[in-house]
């Protein structure tokens, strides 16, 4: 039994902590039973803090150190197959190295939670906020949620297990936040009383998951070869089906969380002043959160602008986006903090958002953006300029003409000839 201090059981505490510590606290408060760890910047302090919790007896979990990220996920496949709540964290190249096992997890329908302190992909080496790591593995069958504040990182871990372990979901879950800008900065995080967390998030079933249970007393082989006429295709469909249907469970969990802890995470997307807006910026992560300042500034001048923050990209918030397209919006900008080389647009999410436009009969102009790659600073003033570009497009049908506009996408701050 873990030695959680009595004060932590009964009282809410506010601690100023880094985004990484918020992740570690989330795992501790979710009472994870298995942690597998391999260090990589900027994630490392997540697993360091968890080692500290386990060593100090505050968290009753098996902590395994392995030799690579591939082994991290392989070992969690083993622990999760026994029904143990399993957790890890990684970043950038580590996530890429883990990729083969990511499929193993989702196809085994194991509710493992992993937090990602996202960073640029090497070469050249880069350890700062950028989401190409997670965006490039977005089709592995994991739920993918962005946490754009420190509090949201902590809260999301609690919600993630409740969603992932739901019988109707049974899918692994990524919580994603920016390297350094979130992982290493510190802000106040409210930690609810452990008693209330335990009531919100009960332990997983004692006998293990109903579909698969590794039990030495009753040895069975899982994941064996299937011939083409067997159920391989059908299992694939079920992963997609559960992913789409998980939207309802996600919304329900967010509501329950609000009821228990009085914090509201809106849903799969957050609509910030979009209802009467004719110009809307769609984005994700902490830079989306920061754009709210730009929206507020422009609203003061009477400009009808809004921000549509994607909290989830898997499952994709189709319904929410189509509802936005059917509102008053005339121009949308879609900003990716990651690349998809050779995509119809420079970034992956702008292409996905645009694929839904035909579900609305309204004519909407779109301008895709790529910003903040490798941690390149994006200021509020620059975000205000983005809105001005979109307003220009609405009023005069003029696309940007400077060198940052390349192949139909604005690469913010691009130095051509580099």
């Amino acid at each position: 039994m873990s030695k959680i201090k009595k004060s932590e059981m009964d009282k809410e505490q506010t601690i100023i902590m880094s985004g990484n510590y918020a992740s570690a606290w989330g795992a501790k408060c979710s009472r994870v039973k298995a942690i597998s760890a391999y260090p990589i910047t900027p994630q490392t302090t997540v697993v360091e803090k968890l080692a500290d919790f386990v060593d100090g007896g505050e968290l009753d979990a098996r902590y395994v150190k392995v030799e690579s990220e591939h082994s991290v996920m392989a070992s969690l496949v083993g622990s999760s197959m026994t029904g143990a709540r399993s957790f890890t964290a990684t970043s950038g190249q580590g996530l890429l190295y883990m990729t083969e096992m990511l499929h193993w997890v989702s196809s085994s329908r194991l509710p493992i939670v992993t937090t990602i302190a996202s960073r640029g992909i090497a070469p050249p080496w880069n350890i700062w906020a950028e989401y190409t790591d997670i965006l490039s593995i977005r089709d592995c069958g994991w739920i993918i949620q962005f946490a754009s504040t420190h509090q949201e990182i902590f809260d999301s871990v609690l919600m993630s297990y409740k969603i992932a372990e739901n019988q109707g979901v049974m899918l692994p879950y990524f919580i994603v936040y920016g390297g350094f800008t979130q992982s290493h900065t510190s802000k106040p995080v409210r930690i609810p009383p452990q008693k209330e967390i335990d009531a919100f998030l009960p332990p997983p079933p004692e006998k293990g998951w109903s579909h698969l249970n590794l039990d030495p007393e009753n040895p069975v082989t899982f994941g064996n070869l299937l011939m083409p006429q067997q159920e391989y295709l059908d299992f694939r469909f079920l992963i997609h089906d559960s992913m789409v249907k998980s939207k309802k469970i996600i919304q329900k969990t967010i509501k329950e969380f609000k009821k228990s802890f009085k914090r509201d995470y809106s849903g799969l997307a957050e609509n910030y002043k979009c209802n009467d807006a004719d110009v809307v910026l769609i984005s994700y992560g902490a830079l989306a959160e920061q754009s709210k300042i730009a929206v507020d500034e422009l609203r003061k001048e009477g400009k009808k602008v809004g921000l549509f923050k994607l909290r989830y990209i898997r499952p994709f918030p189709n319904e929410e986006l189509v509802k936005l397209f059917n509102s008053d919006v005339k121009v949308i900008g879609i900003a990716d903090q990651g690349t998809a080389f050779g995509n119809p647009t420079g970034g992956p999410i702008s292409t996905e958002v645009m694929s839904l436009l035909r579900q609305s009969n309204r004519k909407i102009k779109v301008l895709p953006y790529v910003w903040g790659l490798g941690g390149r600073d994006v200021t509020v003033d620059e975000q205000i300029r983005v809105f001005h570009q979109l307003i220009q497009l609405k009023n005069k049908n003029e696309y940007p003409t400077d060198d940052t506009f390349q192949h139909g996408t604005v690469w913010m701050g691009l130095k051509t000839g580099a």
Binding site: T14, H184, S186, K292, V380
Partner: protein, 194 residues
């Protein structure tokens, strides 16, 4: 900041050398400002130069409302310099605003010919001798990160000595006495140069 009641966001830049405790100081001050009653605080260590003796930057934002920005601090209200020799580095001098800024330097006696603008407010405090006098050392180097907090309180008026002491006590318990003495001494010995 006194005389500017409408302002609710304050930005502070810390320039230190690896080993002087600049990052710790930034973290501590975040806690102290939160205890003081600011609604939100954010400490931002700059990463990539964590070496003994190398120049290191950290930033702190304290605010009366929720902090939503993640972009870098470029126009600080207050600059804390842990070591006067840092003022010889062009990168640092250029990062200090030319006006509307308070600059606080750890120095026994500051030569008047620094390259700092005359349109700022310049303060000094003898952090090194306070640390040496109280035996506040880490691997032989004087720790300026605690004395600087007292000087900050005096210069900024943003965080009271009460909040500073309460966080120090919470962190170090009965061992906080020396640190509390250090912040009191530096509060009293902080001087305005111009």
């Amino acid at each position: 900041m006194p005389g500017n009641k409408k302002k609710s966001d304050y930005e502070i830049t810390f320039f230190s050398r690896g080993g002087q405790g600049g990052i710790t100081s930034c973290q501590l001050l975040a806690q102290m400002a939160f205890v003081e009653g600011f609604k939100d605080v954010m400490s931002i260590p700059q990463i990539g130069a964590e070496r003994r003796g190398a120049a290191i930057r950290a930033f702190l934002i304290i605010s009366g409302h929720e902090i939503r920005r993640v972009s870098a601090v470029t126009n600080p209200d207050i600059v804390m310099v842990f070591d006067e020799s840092l003022l010889n580095l062009p990168l640092i001098i250029n990062a200090i605003p030319r006006a509307k800024c308070k600059v606080l330097v750890n120095a026994e006696k500051l030569e008047n010919d620094t390259r700092l603008s005359k349109d700022i407010e310049l303060y000094t405090f003898p952090g090194t001798s306070i640390a040496l006098g109280l035996d506040l050392l880490l691997e032989g180097s004087p720790l300026v990160n605690v004395p600087i907090l007292g000087a900050f309180s005096k210069v900024s008026g943003l965080v009271s000595m009460k909040s500073i002491k309460s966080v120090l006590k919470e962190k170090w318990g009965s061992k906080a006495d020396k640190n509390i003495k250090a912040v009191e001494l530096s509060y009293d010995q902080t001087k305005r140069i111009y």
